[in-house]
Symmetry: C2
Subunit: 149 residues, 2 copies
DNA sequence: TTACTAATGAAAATGGTTATCATTATCATT
DNA sequence: AATGATAATGATAACCATTTTCATTAGTAA
């Protein structure tokens, strides 16, 4: 039986049952804010304490957490999805810098104000022009990190 | 034996031989600027005129074209890669709007000037701060299109 | 405590992409 | 134009992240 949890209620708006795997996965992601992990990495991290949790459940729970808005999903360069806990603080809004050589991912969070302004302008324009409801965005830069240059 | 081609020389800076499949694939992408196609769609489109071209070669050639800077690759919402001919005209610089419901992709190219300014600022900052050489970026919005709202 | 059924996990399936390798075709040289 | 070295091709199998299936387990309301 899983215990109480800060996010339990928010999560339960999206699913009916609060279970051990769901708590474990959410805890793991929360314990490392803005740390990117793949489904397999999460599986491996949890294996010692929860050997019973299967990869399938990891995937299903990550889907739920994304839908509940508690974590972000983004595609790393090599085709697999990465997940990270979504902080509520605006100052931690950030994007990713991916090295196309070694795959290293750097977070950056400069120009957040300007970016938000820019994004807002675009969203308004898109809504007007294409009658499109913008729900989110991905901004990502790629290139070569210091070691791979 | 493949024929002459506007991009032949540019392409050959990256590979040694100019072949029929390479010409066919490049021609197809060029004939539909800013049309997004998956490897399979390209395969299907070429099948009537070139039944001998295999999917493997499509993938390999697309890689080459991306490396040669002649086409763009981006990941569509459902995980597969999409390709489009990269126009040289700055005015055709654009990004994508993906409907998370039906998968429809809309190009938009508003605020290009502001965006380029914004991007440049970020790239400079990243280069300075992380000693990172920015080679490109992806900006993508997702949400609900008019039909799926 | 019970009963309902959502959630789980093992295994198999799926699907896009990549590796292998024998065969073919390009192109500099003859 | 013919040759030959080897880059490129294509059929097949392999790969690998993710999803589906389905029998079993466990949360929750009663």
């Amino acid at each position: 039986m899983p215990g109480p949890h800060k996010w339990r209620h928010r999560f339960q708006a999206h699913v009916t049952r609060w279970t051990v795997p769901r708590e474990a996965i959410l805890n793991l992601l929360m314990s490392r804010p803005s740390k990117h992990m793949s489904a397999k990495e999460i599986y491996a991290s949890l294996y010692r304490m929860y050997p019973g949790i299967g990869l399938t459940t990891i995937y299903r729970t990550l889907d739920l957490l994304v839908r509940a808005g508690l974590i972000n999903r983004f595609t790393s360069g090599d085709g697999q999805n990465m997940y990270e806990f979504k902080s509520e603080e605006k100052k931690e809004h950030h994007h990713h810098l991916t090295c196309i050589q070694c795959g290293k991912i750097i977070d950056y969070s400069d120009f957040v104000e300007e970016e938000l302004e820019f994004i807002k302008k675009i969203e308004e324009s898109l809504a007007r022009k294409h009658n499109f409801k913008v729900l989110g965005h991905n901004i990502e830069f790629y290139g070569l990190c210091d070691k791979c240059k």
